[in-house]
């Protein structure tokens, strides 16, 4: 009984926490890439006499951008498949939020102790991305169609590396429950395999989060807004909110799988934050340093570099776990 109450309380608590952290992560990516590009970016402490007019800080800028969209009319093109077009953003948001509940946060194990929680979390994330493909494909716009097509192509390779890297860890540690990953201490070769999986997971994150050079689904100069071309108002805002949760999920899942102790106890919270910041910093650096690949070259990059790496990792993990 106490357990149930605690779980419900922690679910109630994770909603603001995940939103806060997701917004913070997107703010950090924006701010860091701005500073790397010799720009100012969203201002942390407002200067001069502008503070009374527009508030003393713009840390919440990513959230404001989303909230603004909720105040606008949503247009639905006459060529669209209306039901799919309208419901896709909400389903995408629902699945990305549902994934939050299966990934532990320091002090809040949530539902991560459920059997097969690793698979559940990763599939919820996949479902969320699936609906960012279905909605645009139903919009009837050529840009949306091309964006969705690119998203599918990227999804295939990025998702393959993502799931495979998770399974490398799962095989190494012999469990599919996220909360059990922490209790396992492996030998040095196992750590090496885990580190390799971490690298491939990072590469998969680039594709899933549309970090450059893999942002071709929303390549503005080529295909306008890509999948989001026909979306406006609340529907677009919902998509962006879903993206914020996906960002939080990816970071949280990365830490939960590859640095499992950090998300086990509330005492680890400072280190958890440091790890998240480092991850975000790396994402921002990659984002800043690269132009966009064409979709064909991106597929080539994944299939030539990341997928073989994952396969090597998988074989090594299998060897270590089963044979040795």
């Amino acid at each position: 009984m106490v357990d149930h109450v605690f779980t419900i309380l922690s679910i109630a608590l994770i909603i603001p926490i995940s939103l806060f952290l997701g917004v913070m992560y997107s703010f950090l990516i924006r701010k860091l890439s701005a500073r790397f590009q010799w720009r100012v970016g969203p201002i942390v402490r407002m200067y001069g006499d502008l503070a009374p007019v527009i508030g003393s800080t713009r840390i919440w800028q990513p959230l404001y951008d989303i909230l603004k969209l909720f105040g606008k009319d949503a247009l639905i093109p006459s060529t669209a498949h209306k039901r799919l077009f309208t419901w896709s953003p909400y389903l995408s948001l629902f699945f990305s939020f549902a994934a939050v509940l299966f990934i532990p946060f320091p002090g809040l194990p949530l539902l991560s102790g459920t059997p097969y929680s690793l698979i559940i979390a990763s599939y919820l994330l996949i479902a969320s991305i699936l609906f960012t493909i279905l909605g645009p494909a139903a919009s009837g716009s050529p840009w949306g169609a091309i964006g969705a097509r690119r998203e599918v192509e990227l999804f295939l390779v990025a998702e393959l590396s993502f799931v495979a890297s998770l399974f490398v860890v799962a095989v190494t540690k012999g469990t599919l429950v996220i909360s059990e990953l922490a209790g396992f201490v492996g030998s040095i070769p196992m750590m090496l395999v885990t580190a390799l999986a971490g690298i491939t997971m990072f590469a998969a994150m680039l594709g899933k989060l549309h970090i450059k050079p893999f942002d071709m689904p929303e390549a503005e100069c080529e295909i306008v807004a890509g999948p989001y071309t026909e979306y406006s108002g609340k529907l677009l805002g919902t998509y962006f909110l879903a993206k914020v949760f996906v960002l939080y999920n990816m970071v949280a899942l990365f830490i939960a799988v590859f640095l499992p102790p950090l998300s086990s106890s509330v005492l680890w919270l400072p280190l958890y934050v440091v790890a998240a910041l480092v991850l975000i910093f790396l994402l921002a650096v990659v984002h800043v340093l690269n132009p966009r690949y064409t979709i064909a070259k991106a597929l080539m990059w994944y299939t030539k570099i990341i997928v073989p790496l994952v396969i090597v990792g998988f074989i090594a993990a299998f060897f270590l776990r089963v044979v040795a």
């Binding site: 701005a34 790397f36 590009q37 010799w38 720009r39 100012v40 001069g48 006499d49 800043v288 340093l289």
Partner: protein, 195 residues
């Protein structure tokens, strides 16, 4: 990969000093670049003391920003900043050096009828004694007379000045009509010169 690292170095160098400036608070800070240069051509200012309303700026204005409005008692020389191209052609052509393009650059207004968008100079007009029509700004007449008396051949100066005072207050049309009556034929000083 090596180019990535080189560019990362470049990028990190400038991390703490972004190119963008906080506006307006960093405008007056002294920086190597992005400050207002000395010779910037911005907001036009007209010296009301010097301007005589000669229309030279109106004639050369390529954007038709300068306009002249004549009413019964005053001439208004106007520059409308929404149309000004800051070419400083009027500054170049002004015979009285009354026009100066300053380095003021914050010219935005939200309403086109805002008085800040206009530079007006009002000049008193002379009305013709005979036909009562406005014909020339008072200052311009004075200035033209001064210039004329500086440059005129001293031999004929007396006659010309005398004639000038005789016809003072008539518009060019009325002056022409009264030429015989007042004995102010324009060519008569040539005869004087010959003698």
């Amino acid at each position: 990969m090596s180019t990535h690292i080189k560019i990362l170095k470049q990028v990190i160098q400038k991390y703490s000093s972004p190119m963008t400036l906080n506006y307006p608070s960093s405008i007056d800070k002294k920086r190597m670049y992005s400050q207002i240069p000395e010779g910037l051509r911005g907001f036009l200012e007209r010296d009301e003391e010097k301007c005589v309303g000669c229309r030279a700026c109106y004639m050369v204005c390529s954007g038709r920003a300068t306009k002249i409005f004549d009413t019964a008692d005053k001439r208004t020389v106007q520059v409308f900043h929404f149309r000004c191209t800051y070419c400083a052609h009027c500054e170049e052509c002004c015979p009285e050096d009354a026009i100066k393009l300053t380095s003021k650059f914050e010219l935005a207004v939200t309403d086109r009828n805002d008085p800040k968008a206009y530079v007006n100079t009002d000049l008193k007009m002379l009305s013709c004694k005979a036909c009562n029509k406005p014909y020339l700004p008072e200052k311009m007449q004075k200035r033209v007379f001064e210039r004329l008396s500086e440059k005129i051949n001293p031999k004929v100066k007396g006659v010309v000045v005398e004639d000038y005072h005789k016809t003072e207050g008539f518009c060019p049309e009325c002056k022409r009509v009264r030429g015989v009556l007042l004995d102010t034929h324009t060519k008569k000083h040539i005869w004087l010169e010959v003698v």
